[in-house]
Symmetry: C2
Subunit: 286 residues, 2 copies
Amino acid sequence: MAQSRIVRTVDGVRELVAGLRGARRTVAFVPTMGNLHAGHLSLVKLAAAKCDEVLMSIFVNPTQFGPAEDYGAYPRTLDDDRAQIDAVGGVAAVFVPEVAEIYPFGLEDAVRLTLPPLARELCGANRPGHFDGVASVVCRLLNIVLPDVLVLGQKDYQQCVLIERMIADLRLPSRVVCGPTQRDPDGLALSSRNRYLTLDERERAPALHAALAAVSEALRAGATDFTALESRAIEKLQSAGFRPDYVEVRRAADLVPPCAADRPHDLVVLGAAWMGRARLIDNVRV
Amino acid sequence: MAQSRIVRTVDGVRELVAGLRGARRTVAFVPTMGNLHAGHLSLVKLAAAKCDEVLMSIFVNPTQFGPAEDYGAYPRTLDDDRAQIDAVGGVAAVFVPEVAEIYPFGLEDAVRLTLPPLARELCGANRPGHFDGVASVVCRLLNIVLPDVLVLGQKDYQQCVLIERMIADLRLPSRVVCGPTQRDPDGLALSSRNRYLTLDERERAPALHAALAAVSEALRAGATDFTALESRAIEKLQSAGFRPDYVEVRRAADLVPPCAADRPHDLVVLGAAWMGRARLIDNVRV
């Protein structure tokens, strides 16, 4: 099996993409922080179904981690990532830049992006600056690759909505496609941070998805007291040994708080909770 | 003479540019706020010399005006602008968007860009948020047009340096070309804001260029006491009836304050001063 091509520089990516464009190939782009799992690989397959060519990136972006977060500890597993990419096949190249290639003027003096207020709610309320950091790196990556389609994972639902918003507002010439969350058989959403869990914590972790799914079921059955549903989910998480950040029912399209006119299938249930060292997130479309 | 083509929507511009790209034409882009004069037209000619096709925009950008500034009063003269564009010729289209076309989510909730600290110095010290607003609109316009070359006027020297920096840092796929400042025979730099001057003020206005040119001459002759030169220029401006904002000698490449090792031709002298209702700016490369 051919080994995936690694490109380390912006110029290298641009040259590659110019060649593809010259041959009138469409390009789908899958940005990742590496430590790939079946969730990422499902996005690669989705990308291949959407466009002629698939580009990936592996870059642990420092500007989306808070000072007390796990930037240093975040798993970096390039050899294993490459083996998984090769096994799936169909990836034209993987962009693996150093930090200075993405932030050539340093992190302090970088041009910063500030997203609308939604970026300070939900996960943003607990991770100040996180989504602005995500926007900073995704904007740069999109300008480098100029893909037709940007493929993101729905596990990071708020990220999908905010990046879609950034693209629409900054008039970036790409469109977003979100791929469904991949789960272990017990319901736990696949995530690189699952490896922070001890065996005992791993056994209790599916309670996050279960709690959100229960809210979704109740909404589908006609429940409308969102606050009560959220409180009950928080209690379940606490019983399972989680330290919950939030559980919230929101409108799926734009993540504004729902109103009486919204029908159940307009909604999404989102949650984030700590289990040991791992901050896990998940969401369920009603 | 064919009348210039006006395009009002992002989709219209994208369709036009896609056609040019399909025909492998290179594109130069000249963004303006309208109220065109010979300075703008010289940039159009420069653009035509650099690329196969020239696109312009006319858009008075609200986000680069402070609350007490002249956004409302800024001269809007589209019919006259079109006549001038037609007289020069060679412009494929002029993008004339409404505010909602550039900021589709409104001004309050727009994704904001924050430039590095240089944006808070010189003109930025007196116009908080000005350059971040310029960055916001130029970033959007570049994403819409995706030009090979962005043509800017050197009269706005700090703007040229900051936009070049934004493009390099955000990895936007365009390069900047700056055209020389056009002047009236008495030295006054052409500017849309010159029309705020009374006849009497207009007669005294060339003192700005004269003061900066005198600093430049002194530097070329070997003077190195920047502070003394700046103070003398400020006094000259005051004598001519200006209320000076600043006169500063900076390194031309990046606008950092100069050091002993910089040679005269590495430097630029920049100034801004009020004459009546008009805030005039100018600069002289040593």
